[in-house]
Every structure is written in structure tokens, then in C-alpha cells.
């Protein structure tokens, strides 16, 4: 049994950033990690993955990018190396191979049960990740047994898939990246496209992330957006790292020969059924993209950057097939596997506290939960648009650490 002020659950970048912030404030804490530092990046990603945020941006507090390629995109081994080095340099008190099995409230705070004993603490920081479980729609159960199913967490490389056609469901970052490499391996890909966020990799000669930062979009706060639920549900940007400046959108995939179809809405009698809404999904994504680019143009005008940046070259509208496929026969079309790239969700099954809504999502105000001394990090737009990115952890950890320290001081005073 250990008594400690604060337990951080998870040694991903969020847990490490929080540890750094707490150390700076002399808060006694431990970081409990079920695997090793950067466990998600080691065990839950596919081989070829690179970050979609550029190196200059993928940084943690006190650790700016000092490598040779600020505009490049890190591979998983590079990222794991950097996170390990960060933990070591900061002397983060990480206890690895320690899985949290249950968190309960008790009189003076929380009881954290792990595979290596029990911790009693006043504060708990949930930094256990936003992507513990890959979502699959209910219709997944109807897919014929002969078809293998994967998620972006179980998929590692094309060679693991049957040498047949592949249906990739979902066209956000994970889906488009996997669709491209699987199709390139000679397995013909059909990509089911629902709501997605299209952006060019770069615009007017600058990476899109550079513009998002410059326009202040990444720093937009949760309490200053019009519809928080909607922005929190917004899928990841249709982006890929690597292939510098290369846009990976539906047009690029169509050029590769990937077949684009509507959202998967049913599986019946051995056939997948797709929505007839593809044209609208693409039109809406094009409109939103152009609104963002308009905002960039306006910013260029205002700040008189016209002579510094490139021309206003826009991506062509998404080419939608004139008669998108509505039905796909798994047997007839020789589909050997389905990859559900339909988003991720966190797993709080071990959190035995009344802090979730009826859909199991955490109820929180900017990462401060409805239970004293309980905090969360790393979820989409938890405090800012960038909260979901590595670069967002520094600010969020600082704000929440500040809250935690102020609360502890009040408790002592009382």
C-alpha cells in the first residue's frame, strides 16, 4: 500500500507532460503505466505510421524539436525514442508494467488498485489515452465469417491481410492512410466514406498545421466555441505525414485506383450496403475546406503576407463517381477482409466513479471532472483544439496542474 498525493494513469505524452508540470510545482506523484513508456505508440499502431503533425509541432513542454528535419514527420521508433528520453531527462517517476484495475472514491480521496498493489491518493489524473478501443459499428457483427476483420489497432501491415480485396470503412486519417498502403500492396481497396474533414497538406507554401497555429485555431478554447459537442465529435483531419507536402485525399486515392463508396450502413445477406449520401459528404467536406482556406487568405491579406507566401492554389473539388456503388457482395467481389477505421474511444471500465454521462463519456469542464481532485487529459478538445495533439499536452497539463495545486492548498488551509 502506498500513500501519495497524486497518481497519473498512463505514461503517454499526456502523462509525461503532466508529470513534468507537477514536478515543477513540487507535487509528489507517480505515473502508473501498464506497459512501457509510450506503450500505445509501441503496441497499437501500424508499422508504416508517421505522425501527421510535423516535427516542429510534435513537442512536449521543455523539449523543442532539435533534430535535422523540423518539417518532417516522425516514425514510431523516433517518437518512442523521444518520449523515453523525455521521461528520463525529466526524471519522471514512472512505474511501468503496472496496470490500473480499479479506481474508487474513499473518504480522503481515491483508492487506485493496480496489478502491483494499492495506491491511496488525493488526486488522480486520467492520462490513459483517448484511443484505447477501436470503434466498430453494430453491423460489424453481420459481416460473413469468411471475411477477416481488423481495426487500425490490430492492423500492422498489408501482408497480414488475405490476398484479396479489402473494404476499408472510414475515411479520416487512419482510414485513408491504411487504404493507400493496402491498395498499393496489390489488394484492391474499396473505401466507405462518411463524414470527413478534408484539408490540403499544405497551402500557399506552408504546412496546414502551420496555418492552423497561425490563425489561432489550435489555441481556441473549449469554453469559446459555438458547439462543443460537435467539435469534440469531429473526426481527425484527412492527413498523412511523410511524402512531404503530399495531400492524401479522396481524389489522390481515386487516382491510385481505390474505389470510393458511401458510408457503410448495413450488411445483409452477405452484402455490404452503402449510403447514397456520398456526394453530399464530399460536397460538405469541400465547402468546409474552402472556408478554412478563405480564412487563411483573409489572414494573408490582413497581415500583408502576400509577397512571402505562395499563390492561392486550391485543390480540385472531390470527384465523386457518377453512380457510386450501393451494394458490395463480399463473396462475389472476393473481399477477404474489412478494416474498421471508424474512430476510437477511451476505456474507463476501471473507473468506478459517477463521472460519465449515459453514453459512457466523461463529464468534465475543461478536463476538470465532477469529482474533487480528478482530472483528465488527451481527449478531443478537452481544453483546446490542440488538446488531441501531442503539442496540446503542455498547456493542458499546466492549467490542470495549476488547478490541482490550488485545490490542495485550499484543502490544507481548510
Amino acid at each position: 500500500m502506498t500513500r501519495i498525493s497524486t497518481v497519473i494513469i498512463g505514461a503517454g505524452h499526456c502523462g509525461l507532460a503532466m508529470s513534468r508540470r507537477l514536478s515543477q510545482r513540487n507535487v509528489d506523484h507517480v505515473v502508473l503505466e501498464r506497459g512501457r513508456v509510450a506503450n500505445s505508440w509501441r503496441t497499437e499502431r501500424w508499422d508504416s505510421l508517421r505522425l501527421l503533425t510535423p516535427n516542429w509541432q510534435s513537442t512536449l513542454p521543455g523539449d523543442p524539436y532539435d533534430g535535422p528535419a523540423p518539417d518532417g514527420f516522425m516514425t514510431m521508433p523516433e517518437l518512442i525514442f523521444r518520449l523515453e528520453r523525455y521521461a528520463q531527462r525529466g526524471g519522471a517517476p514512472v512505474q511501468t508494467q503496472t496496470e490500473v484495475l480499479a479506481v474508487h472514491a474513499e473518504a480522503s480521496g481515491y483508492r487506485v488498485e493496480t496489478t502491483r498493489g494499492v495506491f491511496h491518493c488525493a488526486n488522480v489524473v486520467l492520462a490513459s489515452g483517448a484511443c484505447n478501443i477501436a470503434n466498430a459499428p453494430a453491423v460489424a457483427a453481420e459481416v460473413p465469417r469468411s471475411v477477416q476483420t481488423f481495426t487500425p489497432m490490430s492492423y500492422k501491415r498489408p501482408a497480414d491481410l488475405p490476398n484479396k480485396g479489402v473494404l476499408v470503412v472510414g475515411a479520416s486519417a487512419s482510414g485513408v492512410q491504411i487504404a493507400r498502403e493496402v491498395h498499393a500492396s496489390g489488394r484492391p481497396v474499396t473505401l466507405a466514406v462518411g463524414e470527413h474533414v478534408r484539408v490540403p497538406r499544405s497551402y500557399r507554401g506552408r504546412d496546414i498545421q502551420r496555418w492552423m497555429q497561425r490563425l489561432g485555431l489550435l489555441d481556441q478554447r473549449w469554453d469559446a466555441v459555438d458547439d462543443l459537442n460537435r467539435v469534440r465529435r469531429t473526426p481527425s483531419l484527412q492527413l498523412a505525414g511523410g511524402g512531404l507536402w503530399r495531400t492524401l485525399d479522396l481524389n489522390a486515392l481515386t487516382d491510385d485506383g481505390v474505389r470510393i463508396v458511401g458510408r457503410l450502413v448495413g450488411v445483409r445477406a452477405g452484402k455490404a450496403q452503402f449510403s447514397g449520401s456520398l456526394a453530399n459528404m464530399c460536397a460538405a467536406a469541400d465547402l468546409k475546406m474552402n472556408r478554412l482556406l478563405d480564412a487563411i487568405d483573409a489572414h494573408v491579406e490582413e497581415t500583408v503576407l502576400q509577397h512571402v507566401v505562395g499563390p492561392q492554389r486550391r485543390l480540385a473539388p472531390t470527384r465523386v463517381p457518377s453512380d457510386p456503388l450501393l451494394e458490395l457482395d463480399f463473396g462475389g467481389e472476393a473481399i477477404g477482409s474489412v478494416i474498421w477505421a471508424t474512430g476510437y474511444r477511451p476505456d474507463y471500465s476501471w473507473l468506478h466513479l459517477p463521472v460519465t454521462d449515459r453514453k459512457g463519456r466523461l463529464r468534465h469542464d475543461g478536463g476538470v471532472l465532477d469529482a474533487p481532485g480528478l482530472y483528465a487529459m488527451g481527449l478531443p478538445f478537452i481544453r483546446k483544439r490542440k488538446s488531441t495533439l501531442i503539442t496540446g499536452a503542455g498547456d493542458d497539463a499546466a492549467a490542470l496542474a495549476e488547478h490541482l495545486v490550488a485545490r490542495s492548498a485550499r484543502r490544507l488551509a481548510a
Binding site: R221, A224, A284
Partner: protein, 255 residues
């Protein structure tokens, strides 16, 4: 928010309803409403330009600019209330239909279930359906497939009005024409490869407003995104059909 909404029916289609102790006075086009309140538009763009702007102020300003006859405030109230009371959002829509003669039938629509209770309109609505003379019928009404097209057009049009209202866009006129393509070799059983239903539906909107072409395109996109009929037509739905066989002899026995 709910108690601020007017208690008496006002705009077209408004219905006063009470459910479980709380009151929602306007629930027109609830399917479209949710979308009307999301998605980037003028008002949200404004909000973005000034992250610290008073959001309430922006909305009010928006409402005073445009008037498309949509009570956005009540719809916002309904959305908020139904988020709190999800069971009240479970609706059952109904129609009754009776065969008259040949292809002619008459449907009646009056009650529905929603907001946790049975609801009834003051007056039923009656819709006749038939086939035209080309099908050797009496043409006493639109064909059922034309009613489907008209339902799609009405649903999208209502959506355009509410989304535009919420985004502060004043509409002057909105006209939709809808065309459904069909090879009737399917329904006539000539070719089993041909489906019975539409092979494709085309919607054309002609909209006169004070907004730019892109803003209108975004309104139309959003109205599709939140349209119940658009969803019904583009996505499959399980349909369960049950039959009660009336047998005179049995009826006599029972009686």
C-alpha cells in the same frame, strides 16, 4: 430555456405539447433542427473571428437579421430539453391507409407518439394516392412514388429554411424540383435484374437569398445531413409487415 418559449402555437406547424412536467411549445421539423444548430455558418464564423465574443449576443443578432418564419429559439430550447430527457425524443410516426378502388387509396395522418405521450392534431390530414391514366387508373391522387419525391423535397426545403434562419440568412424564395428515375421493368416483373425503386433521384434547388453561393451550398448540404427523408431514401431500413387476416366465419364465431 424551455419556460421562456411561447406557450401558444405560433408559426406554421407549431404544436403545443406537454411531457413529463416540462413543456416544449415548438417542435417543428425536429429532424432538421439539430443540423440547423450545428455546422459552420455565418454566425459561427463570426464567433470564430472573435473567440471571446458573447455567444448569446451573436445568436440574438443573427435572429434579428433574418426572418424565415422559423422559431429558432424554440428549436434550440427543444434540443436542449431533449438532450436532458432522451426518452422524450423517441417518436413514433404513423399513417393509416385504406383501399378505395383499383389503385386508389386514402391515407390519414393524425396522431403520433412523442415527448413521452400520445399526441393528436386538432384536424387529421388526408392524402389520396392513385395512378395516372397511363396505368389504366383513375388518377385520383399522386402516385406513391411521387409522394415520396414530394416528401423529400418538403423535408429538404424545411431544412433549408431552418438552417438559413439559424445562420442569419434571409430567404426570398426557395424552389425545389425533384426527379426520380425508374425503370418500370422492375415493378412490372419484366426483368428481375431491375430494382423496383428509383435508380437515382435528382434534386434541383433554386434559391433566392441575401447569401453567397457558397453559403447557400453549405445550407443545402447541412439540410441533407439532417434530413429524415434524405436518410430514409439513402440508407436501408428494416420494414416489418404483419398481416391480420379477417375471416367472416371466424368473426361470426367470435361475435
Amino acid at each position: 430555456m424551455i419556460s421562456n418559449t411561447p406557450d401558444t402555437p405560433t408559426a406554421d406547424g407549431d404544436i403545443a405539447m406537454t411531457a413529463g412536467g416540462w413543456r416544449v411549445s415548438t417542435l417543428a421539423r425536429i429532424g432538421d433542427l439539430v443540423g440547423a444548430l450545428t455546422g459552420g455558418g455565418r454566425s459561427t464564423a463570426q464567433g470564430r473571428d472573435n473567440a471571446n465574443a458573447d455567444k448569446k449576443g451573436n445568436e440574438m443578432q443573427t435572429q434579428s437579421i433574418a426572418n424565415n418564419g422559423v422559431n429558432v429559439e424554440a428549436l434550440l430550447g427543444a434540443r436542449e430539453a431533449l438532450t436532458e430527457a432522451p426518452e422524450a425524443a423517441m417518436f413514433k410516426w404513423r399513417a393509416r391507409c385504406e383501399w378505395i378502388d383499383g389503385a386508389h387509396s386514402r391515407s390519414t395522418v393524425d396522431g403520433f407518439f412523442g415527448l413521452g405521450a400520445e399526441q393528436r392534431r386538432p384536424q387529421p390530414h388526408v392524402v389520396d394516392a392513385d395512378h395516372p391514366a397511363e396505368f389504366a387508373a383513375m388518377d385520383n391522387g399522386a402516385t406513391p412514388v411521387e409522394l415520396v419525391l414530394s416528401a423529400l423535397a418538403s423535408c429538404l426545403t424545411a431544412g433549408v429554411a431552418s438552417v438559413a434562419q439559424n445562420r442569419g440568412i434571409q430567404l426570398r424564395s426557395v424552389k425545389a424540383s425533384v426527379e426520380g428515375h425508374m425503370d418500370i421493368a422492375g415493378i412490372l416483373g419484366i426483368d428481375p435484374e431491375v430494382r423496383n425503386g428509383f435508380s437515382m433521384i435528382r434534386v434541383h434547388f433554386d434559391i433566392d437569398s441575401d447569401a453567397t453561393a457558397d453559403e447557400i451550398a453549405a445550407v443545402v448540404a447541412q439540410s441533407q445531413k439532417r434530413s429524415a427523408v434524405f436518410d430514409i431514401l439513402t440508407n436501408p431500413t428494416n420494414v416489418h409487415v404483419q398481416v391480420d387476416v379477417r375471416d367472416d366465419v371466424h368473426n361470426d364465431d367470435v361475435a
